[in-house]
């Protein structure tokens, strides 16, 4: 998909807003916030299994998805990131018993609110990846990267110009 655009236009055109055009070699930055016990361990497993995925994600380790305050997301989008991926343990598997249940509620409301004020829903994504799901982590990152590449560079509410 993305290569088609490249060949046709010589550049990437945002699916969100056709006015936003990026050079063909533009690479999005995705902020990945992973819980230590499941998703971070899962991403380590992706590494040990040498499963390849797009190199756009930058990973922050937190103890639990419940440590993620919605402003991490907003701050990332305003400053450095074109998209955010947050990943935690599957429901019921939380190392801290109930953390991801609280987090799940916040995530839903945050995601909808961000969409409401004008972020494309694919800009912020969530996943449950267990410590055993190395392949799933690679798949999730590939999907999120693909989604955000289609959307083009994030131009809304960026600190430098808003």
């Amino acid at each position: 998909m993305e290569t088609e655009v490249k060949e046709a236009q010589g550049k990437i055109i945002s699916a969100e807003n056709p006015d936003i055009v990026a050079p063909a070699d533009w690479q999005p930055v995705i902020m990945g916030i992973l819980c230590n016990w499941c998703s971070y361990a899962g991403s380590d497993l992706t590494g040990t299994s040498r499963i390849q995925y797009p190199p756009n994600i930058r990973i922050i380790r937190v103890p639990c998805s419940s440590r993620v305050d919605p402003w991490f997301i907003i701050k990332s989008l305003q400053t450095t990131a074109d998209g955010v991926l947050i990943s935690g343990c599957h429901p019921g598997d939380c190392h801290y018993i109930s953390g991801n249940y609280f987090a799940r509620r916040r995530f839903l409301v945050t995601k909808k609110l961000l969409n409401f004020v004008g972020y494309h829903e694919n800009r912020v994504q969530f996943s449950w990846v267990s410590a055993a799901e190395g392949p799933k982590f690679a798949k999730v990152v590939a999907k999120v990267t693909e989604d955000i590449k289609k959307l083009g560079p994030l131009h809304r509410y960026k600190k430098e110009n808003f």
């Binding site: 400053t79 450095t80 600190k159 430098e160």
Partner: protein
Amino acid sequence: MSVFIVETDKAGLQKFYEEIIGKFETYAPVEKFDKYDYKKVSNLSECNPDSPIETTMSLKPLFFPKTAKIMKFQEDSSGTTLSETDEDPLAGSRVILGVKHCDARGLQVLDQVYNWDYIDTDYQKRRINTVIVSTRCDKAGNQCFCTSLDYDVENSDAHDVRIVNGLDGKIYIQGVTEKGEKLIKSSSIQQPASDGAKDELSKHYKAFDASFRLKMNYTEVNAKLQKLFDSPEFETVSSNCISCNTCAFICPTCHCFKISDEKIKDTGVRYKSYDSCNNGYFTLMAGGHNPRPVKYRRWRQRSLHKFVYYKERFGMNLCVGCGHCAISCPVNISIFDVVNQVSKIMQ
């Protein structure tokens, strides 16, 4: 005080405005979210400078913006490098239309503090390059008390050009300063006013002055307040206040600001933004001491700064009587009521 006056009619005034918009970067009251603010306009139809409109924000943001970059910094292995911001305070000259006189007077008050021990060059540049065209109010608003204060509204030079909708149906365009005179002369409206114009203007002023609901004896209030630092009345008058800061942010003369740095990766910007003395943390010191932790002390500071201290230092009252604060206050507290009520105790 220039006495250069031209007279015209509705159509002429329209033309006058249109010519200005065509020639200069022009600002005028524009409606947004059910209220007016001075915004850049490119067409007369976008705004309505004919009659003075109560804007929420005064002229202040056009000279002292709600936030401004004051410098940039860059960090690398050699340390931190400081540099000028790429923001130009004001590229060319600009004209502001439809200004209320009190807003313009606010700038004169601000001039004092910005030309004091530190000269704010950005502010100066914006001031010099701006021509202010005010429209004389025909009638006082509910919260207005500009005529009760320490300055002469009729003979003010706070604005460069004054437009008066004469009681005789004529419209008078009066150049008050050299800048203003030049602006009028550069336009196609050139009919000099008849001899009666001056009378007409003062008649208009008298009618305007008579329409005020609020009047105070400024000299008396000022004198009394000087002795009322310990008045318990400040506690009573501030009891309703919810410390929301609105009054200070929208005040044409409040000029307190804070400095903050924001850094992304290796580069950062230092900002200067509005702050308010009504904010409980305004006077919080690094060691944890706060000389004004309670509401009434902050109100006392605000009232006395406006009506006593600034006058002592700069010879001008820090309140221009525009009533913006009372209009915007969610619980309708007016500085007029506060100083009057406090000084009443002295009788």
